[in-house]
């Protein structure tokens, strides 16, 4: 379970993997400075030119799936295929200037040692050059461009990562020089995962848990936390309240690296979106850009799964929505799903129905815990 630092994988990664690193601000500034110098050099060369910006393509066609031979770990990653932003191409000129604009702002923010939200960035840019940034979407997209150019994480650019993630259970952590936090005594409100990714990398962790359980939904998480499920089955509970944000994934990965023997189990809705959430934890996703796959963890699917439906009341199975089918389609075509996952998706599509975790409440509120415990004991996860 030596993930990406496995020498064999490393060899592989050198060939193809592209990723955004978490780097200190001085380093980001240096990268920006190098960009400026290169730009000026090209501008001033004997054959003067305006440099193109080589961005790693964040497109499906540039994504690869790495099924590791040595471990169970698979991930989605972007290879070095580049899509360049050129000033000279008329429909790219705007995007080209945007990249520089955002880089300038980030540079200044890093100098001030501040962090900004994307909204603040938008307002700043709107004020400065409204014609370049008519909407927040332009800003968000350009930030991804800058990430793809400088190959450093958004967080490293001085952009705040607000985390939605929560952690509870048999985990203690300690920021260097601070008090130890015990996640098992925080009640149902649990412990908020901080957005500071640097901090997460430097936490001192300890646990006596046997399992890590990812829960898709906040409400389910709360239920388990209030019932102190983690004392029943020694475990660490993590939720990102839906699709995971970076910070949650970083923490999970951090825990996983520190305690590689703990299986990571996911409890998600039985619908394509639930599986997609699981897969985002497991493999990363293209929309997360270059930051995606570094934090891939070998997550196992605990539930809900097709064979759980038998014990659910018929009324709790609702028809699939069109969006579900789209997601299912996307999952199936990604080439990332292992066989038994594909079977589950096929079953969802074929039955035309979906079920949510809460459907287990049909058997009473305490059934949820029993269900998980039973599954764990029987090693009923894939």
């Amino acid at each position: 379970m030596e993930d990406l630092r496995n020498p064999m994988l490393k060899f592989f990664s050198d060939q193809e993997l592209c990723y955004a690193e978490i780097v200190p601000s001085a380093q980001v500034r240096a990268r920006i400075e190098v960009s400026v110098l290169n730009f000026l050099k090209n501008l001033n060369a004997s054959n003067p030119a305006i440099s193109d910006l080589p961005l790693i393509q964040r497109k499906f066609c540039n994504s690869r799936v790495n099924h590791s031979l040595m471990t169970d770990l698979s991930c989605v990653f972007l290879s070095h295929s580049v899509s360049s932003r050129s000033l000279m191409r008329p429909n790219a000129a705007k995007a080209f200037v945007r990249v520089w604009k955002v880089m300038e702002l980030c540079y200044q923010i890093l100098l001030q040692e501040k962090r900004v939200t994307q909204r603040e960035l938008y307002y700043k840019l709107l004020c400065d050059s409204p014609h370049l940034f008519p909407s927040q979407i332009d800003v968000n997209r350009t930030i991804q461009d800058v990430v793809a150019l400088l190959r450093c994480s958004r967080y490293s650019l001085g952009i705040m990562a607000s985390s939605r993630g929560l952690v509870a259970g048999r985990l203690t952590f300690q920021e260097p020089g601070k008090e130890v936090v015990d996640c098992s005594v925080c009640g149902s409100s649990a412990h908020t995962i901080p957005g500071d990714v640097n901090l997460l990398e430097n936490l001192i962790l300890d646990t006596d848990a046997r399992y890590i359980i990812i829960v898709e939904k906040h409400a389910i998480f709360q239920r388990l936390a209030e019932d102190q499920f983690f004392n029943q089955i020694p475990s660490i509970l993590v939720t990102a309240k839906g699709y995971p944000d970076m910070a949650t994934r970083v923490l999970l990965h951090r825990i996983h690296r520190t305690f590689p023997d703990l299986p990571i189990l996911a409890l998600v809705d039985w619908n394509p979106a639930g599986l997609a959430i699981l897969c985002t934890f497991k493999f990363g996703s293209v929309t997360m850009g270059l930051e995606a796959y570094r934090y891939a963890c070998n997550v196992k699917w605990l539930g809900l799964r097709g064979h759980d439906l038998e014990m659910l009341p018929d009324e709790s199975l609702v028809p699939l929505k069109p969006k579900d089918l789209q997601i299912a389609q996307s999952l199936m075509s990604s080439g990332i799903l292992q066989g038994n996952y594909r079977d589950e998706v096929a079953l969802m599509v074929q039955s035309g129905r979906r079920a949510e975790i809460e459907a287990l409440y049909f058997h009473g509120y305490d059934y949820l815990g029993k269900y998980i415990a039973k599954k764990i004991v029987q090693s009923d996860y894939i």
């Binding site: 190098v34 001033n44 305006i50 193109d52 910006l53 499906f60 580049v82 899509s83 000129a93 929309t287």
Partner: protein, 471 residues
């Protein structure tokens, strides 16, 4: 060639005389004298000191006016002699008669051994003297654009019934300019059009110092396209000259006859020609857009073609002259514009536009480059901002030196201007060689150049955020 009015015939005769002068190696004189005697008939006399004329020139002429106002008998009297002739030949030609009875040879005069050449053609008609003077004047002024250097034209008009009505004017090409010797036809054409522009066309007799304090403001481009036609070693030449001039916008005194529109001058075989539909089609077919010009349409007014532009700034004016001639033909006959010629027009115009663009930075930028250039200030400001906001002095110093700036005197504006200028110049340069397709250097030295997949369509704004594309 058939004429239906005395005016047109007169212009043709003048043109012919002009050609005889042009082909002579000597400095020649062409006199056009219009005199109304008391008999109230107008005597038109066209005399030149060019090569002598040959009868064939006149044999082809025909006159068939339905208009009695001319009231002309159709009789031309001709005197001519070439340098090698020993006598002066005299003829009368009846342009209304049939071919056989047309030419009457009269007794010749002896030259008494003198070596000179020249011709004189006379006719008498009741045509209006004012009208004729005006047309001949305009014709000769247009001829000036050709800048034929060895012909001096003298126009005299006198109504004997009106005392003191004598009108006289001399047309001399390139009055105050030095031209390379020997000057090519194209050089002469350029010079002639420059002269024309500087004098606001016909409206001034001298260069307008108000509008053009310095000569260099004119941006001139020229191009020549040739083609060998019919395998007869008959090389057709198309010369084009385009001048872009800028006048002060607040100038209310000087004005162009046709406003912002561009009059296209067209010469055929060294004589002003009419812009035909065919030619207009060729002009329309030019890819003006790639030069940042947007042709609104072509207006035909009198015998002129006026190009209307849609995106020209108010102070900019474009002038175009086209000259097509056969390199070998000495005495040109009537000639239709062919497909070849249309292609030549396009090529010649394009070459002169390219010439202009090459010689003058920032002129005739493609609309695409203009758009890209509009980002230059933003980009310059951003990069200057990046440099100046840095706390790393070494980095700043390095940037200054790359930009060739003294670090002591660098202000924000200074820096911005410097970067902007460079960016603009790169953009403009790129626009000049549009088909060269050189790969732009990547921002980072990249040894994986072969991996660069340029995808034209990966740039759309709609980009990669398809949210269903999860992996």
């Amino acid at each position: 060639m058939e004429f239906s009015s005395v005016q047109n015939l007169s212009l043709h005769l003048i043109s012919s005389a002009f050609q005889r002068c042009r082909l002579s190696e000597q400095i020649c004189r062409l006199s056009v004298i219009l005199a109304r005697s008391s008999s109230s008939s107008l005597r038109v006399s066209i005399s030149d000191t060019g090569n002598g004329s040959c009868l064939e020139e006149f044999q082809g002429l025909r006159f068939s006016s339905n208009d009695d106002a001319d009231n002309w008998d159709g009789m031309l009297s001709i005197k001519t002699t070439s340098i090698s002739d020993t006598e002066i030949h005299n003829y009368t030609i009846n342009l209304k008669a049939s071919d056989s009875s047309k030419i009457t040879r009269l007794t010749s005069n002896t030259k008494n051994g003198a070596r000179f050449s020249g011709s004189e053609v006379c006719l008498s008609s009741f045509v209006s003297i004012d009208l004729l003077v005006a047309e001949i004047h305009q014709f000769l002024e247009k001829m000036m654009i050709l800048s034929i250097p060895n012909v001096a034209t003298h126009l005299v008009a006198e109504d004997c019934d009106v005392p003191g009505s004598r009108y006289e004017k001399v047309f001399l090409a390139n009055g105050d300019k030095e031209l390379p010797i020997p000057a090519s036809n194209l050089d002469l054409l350029k010079s002639g059009l420059e002269d024309y522009v500087l004098r606001h066309g016909n409206t001034l007799s001298n260069k307008c110092h108000y509008c053009f304090p310095n000569w260099e403001q004119l941006k001139v481009g020229s191009g020549v396209a040739c083609s060998i036609e019919n395998h007869q070693h008959n090389e057709l030449v198309m010369e084009a000259v385009i001048i872009i001039s800028n006048m002060p916008v607040d100038n209310t005194e000087c004005f162009r006859k046709y406003g912002d529109k561009t009059e296209v001058f067209y010469f055929k075989d060294f004589s002003p020609g009419t812009v035909s539909k065919s030619l207009m089609k060729a002009l329309k077919g030019i890819d003006w857009k790639s030069y940042g010009l947007k042709l609104g349409g072509i207006v035909q007014q009198d015998r002129l073609a006026l190009l209307e532009w849609e995106n020209l700034t108010r102070d900019t004016h474009v002038d175009i002259v086209l000259h097509s001639y056969n390199k070998q033909t000495v005495i040109p006959g009537p000639r239709k514009i062919t497909q070849t010629e249309r292609n030549l027009v396009k090529r010649a115009v394009k070459l002169s536009l390219d010439d202009l663009k090459e010689k003058h930075a920032g002129v005739l930028l493609s609309s695409h480059a203009v758009q890209v250039r509009s980002y230059a200030p933003d980009l310059a400001k951003t990069i200057a901002g990046l440099i100046l906001s840095s706390s790393d002095l070494n980095f700043q110093e390095e940037c200054f030196s790359l930009l060739g700036l003294q670090s002591q005197v660098v202000g924000t504006e200074n820096m911005e201007n410097c970067i902007r200028e460079r960016i603009v110049s790169v953009i403009e340069m790129n626009d000049k060689k549009p088909h060269k397709n050189k790969v732009a250097p990547s921002l980072f030295v990249d040894d994986r150049a072969q991996e660069l997949e340029f995808e034209e369509n990966d740039m759309e704004e709609g980009e990669d955020d398809l949210d269903l594309q999860l992996f």
